[in-house]
């Protein structure tokens, strides 16, 4: 008589406990799913921000190239050591571009040695300080073809590397 009664007592609420366990399991699955979705959305947001930043840096360098093009180097001193800074805002990103002359010389077919006006541009987020190797988003090297009077006739992009 007492054994079945105690059995009955132990079994009471077993189904409810199972149901609660089920709820907890479903909750865990749902939390995992939500975590997955949130993570995907955040990753996409980060990638979009990187894309916008890269294109902002790209646009800022294009703008800087246009500005440097207007700096007329004298016919004799086309490759004087020169540096400069330009800023530009695109897609809400303020970008700073530091540029410096990195001229070289080439020998022409008739034996003359002529200077090549090359400029290296480094674009980074504008924090008020110069772009460093670690902060540079895009680094580009551009050649400026000049006429005898010093005016730039054409530009050639020699390298264009996206660092981050």
């Amino acid at each position: 008589m007492s054994a079945p009664a105690s059995h009955r007592h132990e079994d009471r609420g077993a189904a409810l406990i199972l149901a609660i366990g089920f709820v907890v399991m479903i909750g865990a699955i749902s939390a995992g799913l939500m975590g997955l979705v949130t993570s995907s959305v955040n990753n996409r947001g980060s990638l979009e921000a990187i894309r916008d930043r890269q294109y902002a840096a790209d646009g800022a360098i294009e703008e800087a190239v246009t500005q440097v093009r207007q700096v007329k180097a004298s016919a004799l001193g086309a490759c004087a050591l020169d540096t400069g800074t330009a800023t530009s805002t695109l897609d809400a990103y303020a970008i700073r571009v530091d540029w410096q002359n990195a001229c070289g010389v080439v020998r022409t077919f008739d034996g003359l040695v002529v200077a090549q006006r090359n400029v290296i541009f480094a674009a980074c987020l504008d924090t008020g300080t110069a772009c460093t190797d670690s902060s540079t988003i895009i680094r580009a090297s551009v050649n400026f073809e000049q006429g005898a009077a010093g005016a730039v006739t054409k530009t050639y992009v020699q390298s264009w590397s996206v660092n981050q």
Partner: protein
């Protein structure tokens, strides 16, 4: 010996009957109690499991829809990048006073628009700011700005 054995068997049968009667009545009582408890428990369990399954299904549906949106969004981003690169490549052939031609076939369901719509090459003293807008099949739209320059 035989008489004694018969008598023992009779006593044993009587005891067994009486025990069976007792256990039957206990079982009946037990069943009576179990019926009520099981019903309440089952009703509660069904309600709880029903709510849980509904929550799980809606969570799965949300995750599926979010995944679909994510896919379209990434595709839109891809179309945007391609469109931007094609536009920049077209402008690389610019000459002063000329115009550039952007030949870009947007994938099915996507539309691309650039503003300003004209394709005049920029002057050498300035860059041209172009806003690109891509709209995906579900209406997800993205826009981005690029600068074009005459080399």
């Amino acid at each position: 010996m035989t008489l004694v054995a018969k008598g023992a068997a009779v006593i044993n049968r009587t005891c067994h009957r009486s025990h069976r009667r007792t256990s039957l009545s206990t079982r009946k009582r037990q069943r009576g109690l179990d019926v009520g408890e099981t019903l309440i428990e089952i009703v509660l369990t069904v309600v709880i499991i029903g709510i849980s399954v509904t929550a799980l299904l809606s969570g799965l549906a949300t995750a599926g829809s979010a995944g679909n949106n994510q896919r379209i969004s990434v595709q839109t981003d891809d179309v945007m990048r391609n469109y931007a690169e094609v536009t920049k490549a077209a402008a690389r052939g610019c000459v002063v006073g000329g115009s550039y031609v952007v030949s870009f076939g947007a994938p099915k369901g996507f539309t691309v628009v650039s503003s300003p719509a004209d394709t005049k090459c920029p002057d050498i003293t300035s860059t041209k700011l172009v806003t690109l807008k891509v709209t995906g099949p579900t209406g997800i739209a993205k826009q981005m700005q690029i600068r074009l320059r005459t080399p």
